[in-house]
């Protein structure tokens, strides 16, 4: 990867992606080979929003590469509570760590952070913006299960606020993939994402019902309605529970359909799906470690 920072999936070429995915596959097959590769390296974890999978998998990835992590802790226990700017926070912590992983509730936060520090910044989610490291593990999982070319994918749920969607859709423009976007009218892809997809030559196929695209899909990428990003709770209630993937829905799907979800889920995927061959979301979450190991190995 020819970038110090990973801010947006838009910056990733097909080659960039394949290099990371290939390296992740190598690491997954022989994790001991990189056990001491980044000894004495410290990764700064700056999570201004809650996180389980992303934070723990970055923590695990750094440690499995032989390095360590330092954690800013919760916003309530840090200087942010005293009104410190993000620019100041990252300029302080760059003195403690060799790279920074940043999650922040505001769009553009990772880009701003990257302009103030000399160490690499990895965007681990900036509001409803981007989440490119999630995309790399999504792509890895898709490649392992369905291949990345000649693919038809349906992305369903909260396409407006879902940052994993924005990053994934951008990254998929590097491959021969037909993309279908399924959401309530009020949660369609943002104008900026649509602009970029069209600029990349991708046809944006939009639906309001999963059934409209389901039969043709190789991959169904399900997302949670991002309740915390709605300015109004009533707006959330209007669309909550809009989609549920269950056995009866999947009767008309291809038998080899891969169902993904960045997790956490609320009620978008019925538990009965967990035991089917479709369910790939836990494997997807586990892939976060080798993919983030590969990413850190590239960046550090």
């Amino acid at each position: 990867m020819h970038h110090d920072h990973l801010i947006s999936a838009k910056q990733l070429s097909r080659t960039d992606i394949e290099v990371v995915l290939d390296r992740a596959a190598e690491i997954a097959s022989d994790p001991d080979s990189v056990a001491d590769r980044h000894a004495d390296t410290l990764l700064g974890l700056l999570f201004f929003e809650p996180s389980t999978r992303t934070k723990m998998s970055f923590d695990t990835a750094m440690k499995r590469l032989g390095g360590g992590t330092i954690d800013m802790g919760s916003v309530d226990s840090s200087s942010i509570k005293k009104g410190e700017s993000l620019a100041d926070t990252v300029r302080v912590i760059e003195g403690y760590a060799d790279a920074l992983v940043l999650r922040h509730p505001s769009e553009g936060s990772a880009k701003l952070a990257s302009e103030f520090v000399d160490v690499p910044v990895i965007n681990a989610g900036d509001g409803a913006g981007q989440h490119p490291s999630q995309t790399l593990l999504d792509l890895y999982t898709i490649r392992e299960n369905a291949g990345l070319d000649g693919l038809t994918i349906g992305i369903v749920g909260d396409l407006k606020y879902g940052r994993t969607v924005h990053s994934l859709a951008h990254a998929l423009t590097n491959f021969d993939v037909e993309q279908h976007f399924i959401s309530p009218e009020s949660l369609r892809l943002p104008q900026g994402v649509r602009y970029d997809l069209r600029a990349a030559g991708t046809t944006v196929r939009e639906h309001t019902e999963i059934e409209d695209a389901l039969e043709s899909l190789d991959v169904l990428y399900v997302t949670r309605i991002q309740r915390e990003r709605f300015p109004d709770e009533n707006e959330y209630r209007e669309v909550a529970g809009e989609y549920q993937v269950d056995s009866s829905l999947l009767e008309s799907a291809k038998p080899e359909l891969t169902v993904l979800h960045p997790l956490p889920r609320v009620d978008e995927i019925a538990p009965e799906i967990d035991d089917t061959d479709h369910a790939t979301y836990f494997e997807q979450a586990h892939n976060g470690v080798p993919v983030r190991m590969a990413l850190l190995d590239q960046i550090l």
Binding site: E107, V193, Y195
Partner: protein, 153 residues
């Protein structure tokens, strides 16, 4: 000199911005961050008849020559504007505005969740598209009513 130009006072040295769409003169001044507090002598003609625009605004700024970089940002709201640099009551230079690649500090991002709207030490930055502008931080695109996003309005 035409009747239209005589409606506002002639200047000795400075800049005349002509062919501004009618009603946009105050936005032009806002973009240029000219609010009179620096003592500039400014004359404004608003909604004066124009063959080309129907109605146009004119702004004359005494004692200040605007650079090309300063005036290019006007292309966002006044793409047909012409800039006359006046020296000793004569037009010394005449320019048209051209679209810049980026505009800094002029516009406020309409996305309330954009990091540039928070208490951070950065000025806003927008990339200029063919049909609008785009926040370089959050990616929000603004196509209509760009003037309503000028910082000081």
């Amino acid at each position: 000199m035409t009747d239209t130009e005589l409606r506002v006072s002639k200047i000795e040295n400075g800049t005349v911005i002509d062919h501004i769409p009618g009603g946009q003169a105050l936005n032009v001044l806002a973009i240029l961050r000219i609010d009179g507090t620096a003592g500039e002598e400014v004359s404004i003609g608003m909604n004066v008849p124009s063959d080309r625009l129907g109605k146009k605004d004119i702004v004359k700024i005494e004692g200040r020559e605007l650079s090309q970089t300063e005036v290019d940002v006007l292309s966002l709201i006044a793409p047909a504007a012409t800039i006359n640099i006046i020296r000793s009551f004569e037009v010394a230079e005449k320019h048209h505005v051209t679209r810049p690649e980026t505009v800094r500090g002029v516009l406020r991002c309409p996305n309330a969740n954009c990091i540039t709207t928070e208490n951070e030490p950065v000025e806003s930055r927008f990339d200029v598209l063919e049909d609008g502008v785009r926040c370089a931080y959050c990616g929000t695109i603004v196509r209509e009513s760009i003037a309503s996003h000028i910082h000081s309005t």
